[in-house]
């Protein structure tokens, strides 16, 4: 690659030559709309091929540009504000479904395909990608993978780490790389797809993803079980987990979350879904009723559309936290959150101890609460990640929280190996990486 002079103008010309003028935006008004945490990029690149992504990244590495890849732009407030920003790489034009093999239950998509668009394609064959993070219909699969987004369905189907079979990505220096396989079972070489899930695009720009699909169950029904105290909800959760039930969702809702979804008021509730053949759904529903009664729970069947309301529960809350606790400690963790953040909406995948907290509170209060929660969860190995918050708050607190020294040392070494010049998302990831 020939080096170009580092001036904005020269780099801009080089980018235009690589991408064509329709894929490069230098208009100040448009660029302002693509600012990340208040940093306005010098360029917006909108490649529509993997090759174009590769050429942009090669140039970015040569010129030491800081690049932030972008999907739908919904989750750019995850992580610390970027240390530098020169170029936003808008991946939304890579939006083709490349290869769908319904008889194999696999699909290969470009990273800019939206989750909702994929669902529409797969639906008629009664197949789906079992991934349901809050309000994710317009989010791209690349963005969902880079941020390791997850929702209620993970209790049955796993998270993205379990669904991603293969991945094509562009390394920071522009080398197009493939990891994994297009078949449902493969252990050939290192499990590179696992490394890319949740890496926030720091090791490569995700371009193509091969995903495992699942059949849509014949019938799905949801029971909402409300309790007068969180301890009873915890008891019910333990009973569900220690049973042969095969729930597809086991979500915890505190009082605020119940209000947000238009559900009956209670101290705590669990929403349990069963997806199967009709007779098996009914039989498991009866068992759920029995287990609920033991904890004095009130059982109602959730109305049609209840999960859609649930998906919107975080709304436009200025602050969202992802709290990782143990399944055995959900009630205690929720109570602790409520004590520290008055009025917080707490909900999430109780079976794996993954909770979303949304709240409108002053920055000082949030900072104090996050510090307190982290200290509270440290003995059991829990974490608090600030997934959405105003820039000023994310500048004054580590949004990721502490990571074990040994693990973070390895992470730093991996990053220095693949992105020594810190081209991709500098400063945004854990430990200031």
């Amino acid at each position: 690659m020939t080096r170009v002079a580092g001036s904005t103008r020269a780099v801009g010309s080089a980018l235009a030559a690589l991408l064509g003028t329709d894929a490069l935006v230098e208009d100040a008004g448009v660029l302002a709309r693509f600012a990340v945490d208040g940093c306005t990029p010098r360029w917006l690149a909108r490649p529509s091929t993997v090759d174009a992504v590769a050429r942009v990244m090669a140039l970015a590495t040569d010129e030491g540009l800081a690049v932030v890849p972008r999907g739908s732009g919904s989750t750019l407030a995850l992580g610390a504000p970027p240390a530098r920003l020169d170029l936003v790489l808008d991946m939304s034009r890579l939006d083709r479904v490349l290869e769908w093999n319904p008889d194999d239950l696999t699909v290969t998509v470009e990273a800019g395909v939206a989750l909702g668009a994929l669902a529409k394609r797969l639906g008629p064959r009664r197949q789906f990608l079992p991934l349901d993070p809050p309000a994710a219909d317009t989010r791209t699969l690349g963005g969902l993978t880079a941020t390791n987004a997850s929702g209620a369905l993970r209790v049955r189907y796993g998270a993205l780490r379990d669904l991603l079979l293969g991945v094509r990505f562009v390394q920071p220096d522009g080398v197009v790389t493939w990891g994994g396989a297009k078949v449902v079972k493969s252990v050939s070489g290192y499990d590179v797809p696992k490394l890319m899930v949740g890496a926030l695009g720091t090791l490569g720009v995700l371009c193509e993803l091969t995903l495992r699909l699942h059949p849509v169950p014949d019938v799905e029904r949801t029971w909402l079980v409300t309790f007068v105290a969180a301890e009873h909800a915890q008891g019910f959760l333990a009973a569900i987990l220690d049973s042969a039930l095969q729930p597809s969702r086991v979500e915890w809702l505190n009082r605020a979350a119940l209000a947000r979804t238009g559900s009956p008021s209670a101290a705590a509730a669990l929403a349990v879904s069963i997806g199967s053949v009709e007779a098996a759904v009914a039989a498991q529903g009866a068992i759920i009723g029995g287990l609920a009664a033991r904890e004095h729970g009130q059982v109602m069947e959730a109305p049609v559309g209840w999960w859609d309301a649930y998906a919107q529960r975080l709304g436009a809350a200025p602050v969202v936290l992802r709290v990782a606790t143990l399944a055995s400690h959900v009630a205690g963790t929720v109570t602790d959150v409520e004590r520290r953040l008055h009025g917080a909406c707490v909900s999430g995948c109780a079976a794996v101890g993954s909770l979303d907290v949304s709240v409108a509170a002053g920055e000082a209060d949030v900072r104090r609460a996050v510090d307190g929660l982290r200290a509270h969860l440290r003995p059991i190995g829990g974490h608090v990640v600030v997934t959405r918050a105003p820039v000023t708050l994310r500048q004054s607190i580590d949004p990721w929280g502490p990571v074990d020294d040994g693990a973070v040392g390895l992470m730093r070494a991996i990053l220095s190996e693949f992105d020594p010049r810190r081209v991709l998302n500098p400063g945004r990831f854990v430990g200031g990486l």
């Binding site: 379990d162 078949v183 252990v187 055995s328 040994g406």
Partner: protein
Amino acid sequence: MLNSQLLGELERIVGRDGLITSPEGRLTYECDMHTFYKGQPDAVVLPASREHVVEIVRACRQARVPIVPRGSGTGLIGGAMAPRGGVMVGMNRMNRILDVDLANRCATVEPGLINLWLSRAVAGRGWFFAPDPSSQMVSSIGGNVSTNAGGPHCLKYGITTNHVLGLEIVTGHGTLVTLGGKVWDRPGYDLVGTAVGAEGTFGLVTAVTVRLVHLPDAVKTVLALFSDIESASEAVSAIIADGIVPAALEMLDDVVIKAIEEGIGAGYPKDAGAVLLIELDGPRAEVEVQAERVAALCRARQALDVRVARDETERALLWKGRKEAAGAIGRVAPNFLLQDAVVPRSKLPDIMRAMRGISERHGVIFANVFHAGDGNLHPLICYDDQNPGELERAVAANEELLHACIALGGSVTGEHGVGVDKATKLPLQYGDADLNFMFRLRRVFDPDGVMNPGKILPSHPACGEGFRPERPALPAGTWV
């Protein structure tokens, strides 16, 4: 040969009874179950604690001596063997269950623990450890983690990596690192997912936190008989395409059926051209409905008969036959090569037709017993090493089959791992850039190249081990 200083150091660490240096003692450790590949370690050490392991790695690293981990030695890839000599670390003494936490559906164990022992320890309370390689009564969980082992029921439950929450490893730096743990989510790279399946090239595993799964409400095992393997393959594809994911979906062909029946007699019909062993588990009503759908799909694909195991004894016998199939093949031929390639499961009929052609062209017998539901082939390619030319023909047939699988969009290994056996085959599936990425990843964990060298990645003629790094290595210890 190791120098006496290192040997003295190893003896100080593990004690005299934990160090094996005699030629006859080391002979036991010269290969795994892929006896084709042999390589004796210069010494074998048997640590009893994570502290031992840390000290062993540090001593070997300092002496620049290869370190090769070994569990039960039941691998099938030339993994737990020492192609370049060095020190083999047998994890068998570290076999305790450290913690069982059913409220959080997990257990923490030492790597030498036998897979089945964990399931036995929690079965009484209604739980099990889902990954079930056929070797599970002897293979160790550390070995399962290192190879990312699969098994028949992985079709529904996922392979080992889907069941590992946390790892404690000693990296090639000699540093003890805790990755992941009981809490499912944590910020940063998924180093647990990255390290599972690394076959000891990132580090030695000293503890594993695994998920436990609740035993299902009901289990139904269906045996479907077909006149030939192609029609059985069509049935497999039809079941998956219909949206049914059984707990297990296994195929056995006529050669294997005959061998099993002449041996332990598991109750497979001797005259069938192929059988499908289909297990459905879960809520009783679901199992009933799915069993009927599966039976109908098999009949529509010309199944000669569809039977359901009447009781647990009959079910256990069918599975015993399946799990001991490879051993039974000894009745057919004294030697065999075992292939572990994968094809997209909709391509099973194609690969089975291709296999028939390959078999005829090379004049070798393929005995098929495999995880049909996820397209993971396990043909046993039979030969007799006393007959000149047979091995060469078997090797050529194996090679041709592997290429055919890749041409259909498959993988060179589905669950056994890479070892030395498949290291040279990775370029069929990956380009130089992809392999280079893996090489660099490995170097982060093992800058000196002492961790199980010669395994997983192919050698590059220009630099001996792995692909040539693009940039000089980082100075050791920059991040420690």
